[in-house]
Symmetry: C2
DNA sequence: CTGAAAGCGCTTACAG
DNA sequence: CTGAAAGCGCTTACAG
């Protein structure tokens, strides 16, 4: 049996309350008693049992991070940033991959209700009825999940607008847009809108191909896209994976990038992973994670939080445009 | 205040024990009582508080996964596999990135002692004194952490031997070996040994360049390696990141791969991430994670576990060899 | 400054 | 089959 606080108290000849006070650095404790207690703790090799502590304090010190998959650079970097930031607050990170299954996303809500975790960050796609979010400490990334849920997102519209304009400047005549369509209201939709607005501004026909959000299996979809508009000379992809598959598909068709076909993307160039450079709108992944954790901490502490935080992206010119 | 088990008991007109029995599916409970209780639970919207449950059962249902960084395909895929497998056992996964800091690795030991987690999987590099592992439920990947800690690894020697032999068959005359040197005893060392043995077998001079394990910053090191042995026409890299940097460095020197310089690697071709193919020894990442979780579950349940589990790799020929 | 006691919300022998 | 009680290991008013 592990040694408990009352073992320490007995050994030191004091009450358990005193031991607790020493442990938690309460001011009002006699120096000598403190020393005796500390010695007892050391002697007995005592460590506080966090299960009891949690029950007593009604707080776990754990937040959940829900991602569709962890083996995707965006989510992996996000997890990394979130874990670092959570640590600053004395919190741990529980990793939950939904693997595209809505049940798993609902399950995490149950876990919050059962007090397994103190809060959660959702970086996922599925719909939940807002009432499930009542009294739940949740922060979302990119998806608008209702009034109760603050969202961290990026300047989707402006940055996409600029990127597509850039492609026109670099000589594209017929640019397409390919990407995922979020299943819940999201600022991500503004990427497509920005693209359409640029097309309209320049009197060009919009060539849009979108599909329900997913991770994996985009190869067929980008090929369908290329088949649908065979005379394209460039495309903006709404996400990293899609852009990767697009590069491959275009190359496989014997076209040279960027000579015959230019590509830009939202997201990409996750430097820890790769050295090749793509022209893209880079999201500040680490800051997004940091901000999400900060908002969640505010929620947990019952503080007011903004409904939405919009972070700025940066535009990187790589070798997928002229 | 949230509704508790005694609220339910009161509402249903039974004892809390009965409610608990209904909740936990104990056989010996009258059908009618059960219905009444279930109705009360439903009516009151009761959810068991897991903090109390954990304290009572002395079990968290959480295991920790310690990785150096999560934004590396091997570790990300490992985390994915581990989370899936843990879920099967009703366990959650706590993600801890050591970020190369030994303190963080020690910290997780403390967490186990404080009962924050029921066990841990270490996929990291640092040394710990074996005594820290006494009474700790720990499973390791690739590193031999002492008798108490079962290790999951791969057939490092045989697969490297075969890979280097293959490079010779493909015409390499002067093959080098570049890679990380684990900081603790590890079967990973057998990669270098296998390389050396192949060299000796063929009467070739071993060209070895190794460095302390790290993630990031390999670019300089692979260049030092190339400078040290300017007449190499091929190299075996002990890991994925090193191989990536090597490809870049070789290319930057104006050499063509595989015509002028052939490369093979331990690890690589993480299909979820990339489509390009490298000649490499592929580790069964998902199974490694699965096995590690299984061993940990055995440890947690006080069962006997093997000291070591060796999984087979597969050899993939990509376009970095002739 | 400090001890004794209550209580966090469960589960599980123990009687009946 | 089921209720009352003890106990998991802490923290925190409450007295003194």
């Amino acid at each position: 049996m592990a040694v408990t606080i009352s073992d320490v108290a007995k050994y030191a000849g004091v009450g358990v309350g005193t031991v607790s006070r020493v442990l938690n650095g309460s001011k009002s404790v006699n120096e000598d008693t403190k020393k005796t207690v500390l010695r007892a703790i050391d002697k007995l090799g005592y460590s506080p049992n966090s299960m009891a502590k949690r029950l007593r304090k009604q707080r776990n010190g754990v937040i959940a991070l829900m991602v569709p998959v962890i083996y995707h650079p965006f989510f992996a970097l996000f997890a990394d940033g979130a874990e670092k930031e959570a640590t600053k607050y004395g919190y741990s990170l529980m990793l939950v991959s939904s693997q595209q299954h809505v049940e798993r996303e609902n399950e995490i809500i149950d876990r919050m209700i059962r007090k397994e975790v103190d809060g959660a960050i959702f970086v996922t796609h599925y719909v939940h009825s807002p009432e499930e979010y009542k009294n739940c400490r949740i922060v979302s990334v990119d998806r608008n999940l209702g009034d109760e849920v603050p969202v961290v997102t990026t300047d989707n519209y402006d940055s996409t607008f600029k990127a597509v304009e850039y492609m026109l400047e670099r000589g594209c005549k017929r640019i397409g847009y390919v990407g995922t369509r979020p299943l819940v209201p999201s600022d991500v939709l503004l990427r497509e809108k920005a693209y359409r607005d640029v097309m309209e501004k320049h009197g060009l026909e919009p060539l849009v191909f979108n599909f329900a959000a997913l991770h994996g299996g985009e190869t067929k979809l980008v090929n369908d896209f290329l088949d649908a508009y065979p005379d394209m000379d460039g495309a903006f992809a709404s996400g990293y994976t899609t852009a990767q598959r697009l590069i491959e598909a275009v190359t496989a068709r014997g076209k040279k990038i960027p000579q015959d076909f230019q590509i830009a993307s939202y997201d990409g160039n996750f430097s820890a992973w790769e050295e090749k450079r793509m022209t893209c709108v880079e999201q500040p992944v680490a800051e997004m994670a940091q901000k999400a954790v900060q908002l969640l901490m505010s929620k947990i502490n019952g503080e007011e939080t903004p409904d939405k935080v919009v972070l700025n992206t940066s535009f990187t010119v790589g070798n997928t445009t002229k």
